[in-house]
């Protein structure tokens, strides 16, 4: 048996391995050249994700519940019927029963079709309403996003500019991320057969436009900006300094970044 292993044979094998390692860069160049030809060319040039940090803020007292933002988002991103990347919730808090010693009665939340076509009249008589308001919801742009952590294939990721995005060519549609998001911001897109979510209108913000919902909102309830490049008289900076802002479900430790002003304790 020992005759089969000769000095010549071992040296030959070693040479083959060294030769293989030396050939790697050449192979890599060939591979890169082939794949460059397949890369997309429609993307806006000159956008560096490390030079931006996007953030959306929401002013609950400004939202009038018209639903134009939801409609704009669905049209901009071709969101399939019945699914939403952003939506509006209507909160109705009733008055407490007389003599109950409570601060408030029942809380009801509805969002018919995500608020896309506006809201129907309240079912509760006006006299029984303690307060009612609208809360726009969207991806909370978490710093430690649970949806990214559970993805088994690296298809979803926290981009360096603050957006949480999905690589649709990598997503296998397992739906773990849909379950992992504590804000319910993800859904399974039946058309692309992948997970889907708010991208902060990534194709718009990289071109210097505002996200569709921010562009269309008639009451400036949605404020959008770049924390790394504040413009003169920056609306986002102004909003954060003028309001006491908070984020949703901080106790979960997901590091949500979307700032809300004027939240009620009932809002989750």
């Amino acid at each position: 048996m020992s005759e089969s292993i000769t000095r010549r044979g071992v040296l030959k094998n070693l040479a083959a391995i060294v030769g293989g390692i030396l050939a790697l860069p050449a192979a890599r160049t060939c591979k890169a050249a082939v794949q460059k030809g397949l890369a997309s060319s429609h993307a806006p040039a000159g956008y560096d994700p490390f030079k931006h940090k996007w953030l959306m803020a929401l002013d609950v007292d400004r939202c009038i519940g018209c639903g134009l933002c939801v409609e704009a988002c669905c049209e901009e991103n071709e969101v399939p019927e019945g699914h939403f990347r952003t939506w509006i919730e209507r909160y109705v808090v009733t008055k407490p029963k007389a003599g109950s010693g409570e601060t408030r009665g029942e809380t009801m939340v509805d969002s018919p079709e995500g608020g896309k076509k506006g809201f129907p009249e309240l079912l509760v008589p006006k006299e029984e309403v303690l307060k009612s308001f609208f809360v726009p919801k969207l991806c909370n742009l978490c710093e430690k996003s649970p949806c990214t952590q559970v993805c088994p294939v690296g298809a979803t990721f926290d981009a360096p500019d603050g957006a949480v995005l999905i690589d649709k060519s990598y997503c296998i549609g397992c739906g773990f991320c849909v379950q992992a998001c504590p804000y319910g911001c993800r859904f399974f897109n039946p058309v692309t057969r992948t997970a889907d979510k708010c991208t902060l209108c990534y194709h718009r913000i990289t071109r210097g436009l505002k996200p569709a919902c921010v562009e269309i909102c008639p009451s400036q309830a949605r404020i959008f900006g770049d924390l790394k490049n504040p413009v003169p008289d920056d609306p986002l900076q102004k909003f954060i300094s003028a309001n006491k802002v908070e984020t949703l479900k901080q106790y979960l430790g997901t590091g949500p970044r979307v700032a809300y002003a004027g939240l009620d304790e009932e809002v989750r």
Partner: protein, 152 residues
């Protein structure tokens, strides 16, 4: 290498097999991993460009102002100054590309969508009950949408 030659053959086979498997793994990973994977993190960096490659649907107020500056000046003086043109007029990308493509005429539904009274709406918003506010159906008989404080 006298010592190596003394190694039992099954050990040598095992070592060679291990080297073979490791090489096969790295070769497969080399050719199957997309070029930009791992550039920014555990994902394909080119996905950012793929996602950004989509074409915008809403043109944005700045595009409207290029050709309609007078409307914008008027709008900026009234209470509707914060509104984008497309909020009421609808998506205008097609009109930007081809100005001959006109945007649809607006009707009462656009006004009512925001101004219909509701207990859920904030107090600062001007709200009307459309059933008893006015019997007609043309808001612009009394209101100028581009300058709501003005009476025609």
């Amino acid at each position: 290498m006298p010592r190596m030659l003394q190694l039992p053959p099954q050990i040598i086979r095992l070592v060679l097999l291990t080297i073979g498997i490791v090489c096969a793994f790295f070769t497969a990973r080399f050719f199957l991993t997309p070029p930009s994977f791992g550039q920014y993190g555990h994902y394909r960096a080119n996905a950012l460009q793929d996602i950004a490659a989509r074409q915008p649907f809403w043109a944005g107020k700045a595009s409207c102002l290029e050709c309609h500056p007078s409307h914008a000046q008027k709008l900026a003086q009234g209470e509707h100054k914060g509104l984008s043109c497309e909020t009421c007029h609808g998506p205008g990308q097609a009109h930007v590309v081809n100005p001959a493509e006109k945007l649809p005429k607006l009707n009462i539904s656009m006004c009512v969508r925001c101004h219909q009274a509701s207990p859920s709406r904030p107090k600062w918003l001007h709200q009307i009950n459309v059933h008893n506010h006015y019997t007609g159906s043309v808001c612009t008989e009394c209101h100028v949408p581009h300058q709501p404080n003005e009476v025609p």
